[in-house]
């Protein structure tokens, strides 16, 4: 039995943040019904990445919305609204990621839904909270990365601001929403009461940086300084970073500098004995290391460093990773099929419960594909 079996989620979410939360809850066993507008559905269906179209929709839509059903409804149409209200009366969880005020105008905000289903757990994601002067701004990932200081952590000192190349803030907000909803579901299992869970991308972006922002707030307000080369963390000294070798790259996470010098046969590193020096002179040390590591192959360096318990690794691309036994044993991918027989490969839920992988064969839904079944099943 999956942990959330029997729970019904009505998901008004679009794009990534909200729908990534409902995907996680679906994989944990809940039944998720996406409510989509009849024309075009979730905008994510046409948000293409590198122009890839799969069975009519974007690849990211398929990744985010597998294991869900789709119910097409026009939230402004009185008949459709009636149907939605009846569906909401059966829902354990309702979630959305509209801008503040939209659900109030539609009449599906927390208080309205609570009057339909008193013990509902209602989750919402906003860009910048429902109070404060940014509340009406677009909650978009790159903008949130840029406003919260995140872009000064990645890349080298002379790179300018560098975004993390994924919608990281969306995913964090989705993860936090899932956590709040699960905590409330636990409470409901004890006390029977529902609850309201609110997350914003802004708060999630600051939380992501809780270590470095806390440092900033307690060190007199010094902004992070990335190293000139091989930066992997603005706050850590040498050797922390990725280095070019004769045939690829090598990641080095720690090790005293003279000891590394000895293992690698690099005498120039012998003088950097003090741990504080590894931070203060990290540009100098990284430059020496960078030159030296290019004199031999990644495999050669690994064969010297790993037996000495130095934390290091090869740097793989997906082709290399997918061929590696260390990846294959995880069974991290799964094949799913859509209602029309179209199949595709994707990843699975990263959590294991009672030794089982939480996989599901169910692919993403075609827009409105489940309307008829849902109308019949719930006698709407």
């Amino acid at each position: 039995m999956k942990p959330l079996e029997g729970y019904l989620i009505i998901d008004f979410g679009q794009f990534l943040s909200g729908p990534s939360a409902s995907l996680r809850l679906a994989d944990l066993g809940a039944r998720v019904i996406k409510i989509e507008r009849p024309q075009g559905g979730d905008i994510c269906r046409s948000l293409y990445t590198s122009n890839v179209v799969m069975n009519g929709d974007s690849s990211v839509f398929h990744a985010i919305n597998r294991n869900k059903e789709s119910f097409a409804a026009d939230l402004k149409d009185p008949r459709d609204r009636d149907t939605i209200i009846q569906l909401l009366s059966k829902a354990d969880i309702v979630l959305h990621n509209f801008r503040p005020g939209v659900m109030e105008r539609l009449g599906f905000d927390y208080n309205s839904v609570k009057s339909i289903k008193p013990d509902v757990i209602y989750g919402e994601i906003s860009g910048y909270g429902s109070e404060g002067e940014y509340k009406d701004r677009p909650g978009q990932d790159l903008l949130l990365q840029s406003l919260t200081g995140l872009t000064w952590l990645t890349g080298n000192a002379d790179s300018g601001p560098v975004a993390m190349g994924l919608s990281i803030v969306d995913m964090l907000a989705g993860a936090h929403l899932a956590e709040g909803i699960l905590a409330c579901l636990y409470r409901k299992s004890v006390s029977g009461e529902g609850g309201l869970v609110q997350v914003s991308m802004l708060e999630s972006a600051y939380d992501f940086q809780f270590e470095t922002i806390t440092t900033f707030m307690n060190d007199g307000g010094q902004n992070p300084q990335r190293s000139l080369t091989s930066n992997a963390n603005a706050y850590l000294g040498a050797p922390y970073g990725i280095y070019k070798t004769a045939n690829g790259y090598l990641a080095l996470a720690m090790g005293s500098i003279p000891f590394l010098g000895k293992l690698l046969g690099c005498d120039a590193l012998a003088t950097y004995a003090d741990a504080a020096i590894a931070f203060e002179k990290r540009d100098e040390i990284k430059s020496i290391l960078g030159q030296h590591l290019q004199t031999d192959t990644t495999q050669k360096w690994l064969s010297v460093l790993e037996p000495a318990d130095i934390w290091c690794a090869d740097v793989l691309n997906w082709n290399q990773l997918f061929e590696h036994e260390g990846f294959k044993v995880l069974n991290m991918t799964q094949e799913v099929s859509m209602s029309d027989g179209y199949t595709y490969n994707t990843t699975r839920c990263p959590i294991r419960i009672d030794g089982e992988l939480l996989t599901s064969k169910k692919g993403s839904p075609k827009l409105g594909q489940d309307n008829q079944n849902i109308l019949t099943e719930f006698s709407l």
Partner: protein, 384 residues
Amino acid sequence: MSRPLEGLLVLEFCQFLAGPSAGLKLADMGARVIKIERPVKGEAGRQLAIKNIFIDGDSLLFHTINRNKESYAADLKNQDDLEAVKKLIAKADVITHNFRPGVMEKIGLDYESVKVINSRIIYATVTGYGNVGPWANKPGQDLLVQSLSGLTYLSGTADQGPVPFGLSVSDIMCGNHLTQGILAALIKRARTNTSVLVEVSLLESTLDLQFEVITTYLNDGKKLPQRSNVRGSGHAYLSAPYGIYETADGHLALAMGDLNKIGSAIGCDISQLYTDSISSFDKRDDILKSLSDTFKKKRTGDWLEILIPRDIWCADVLDYTGATELPVFEQLGIRQSVQVSDSVEIETTRSPIRIDSEKLFSSKPAPKVGAHNSTLNQEFNIEI
């Protein structure tokens, strides 16, 4: 207000970031979290500092990750201490650890043994790469996991080679997944009344983080990500104008948007480059370069005044000074104070989750090693 996890008892054997960040999330949502630490030195994270900042003997980092918790010092190799810990386990709802495979078996606190002590335990583990396979005993460290997972080919520009995310993103995502798994297990237990095992690993979490782009890769003939060569480009898979641009006095971030509208708003003619929707990706580098030249001509504030009223998605690019001075930082109440001692207070951020319209503040500091041994011994009738 009752926090949703009130009444839950969590024993945290975890060290460093991934596991303890989950403990922090659970604590802020109302659980009572007790760190089980070796006597005197405590968990290794106490000595792991950035910028060499220590507060009251422990690193600021440790204080940040472990506020709102208690500490019980025990030497798990000492029989008396182990018995005491077993008494705590008998009363606990959840235990978490991130020891390498085999360590808890040797101590006698592996899942099978703990189930005998407490048949309703949620037993949650964090590993680097899972329990089997050639990487099972490799150090589960954030940068190494990023490097093995393909993540380093998504940021920066193509000519930079691999560029890691400049934060412990694998640890943090894994901590979130651990939190989710534990909470789902508690819901399962509410129905079955029996123990549940939860397992997560840094590598699986880092692959999940890439689920959108890996799905694209798997269904696009295994084409590897192609980052742009233009400085500031924001995402290997997204088309122009997505990225960060230099302006006359700083930078400007521009998300996805209608290129014709943006071109005409800023006075940049891209009609030769942007001929159809496909070209915004295929001609990405040329379009980015063309926009870059224009954005250098005015200051960020001037561009924002032009773009925001036209509903073009853009933002200033701030450092921590700017980010913590943003009015919304105060308006949303993101900052909170933690009282370390009578004379020492540190500022940190609060939980990002609000429950029943309440922000989850907590002023309770990280504990000293073993700070709660005597109260816990008394409370749980542990005789030493």
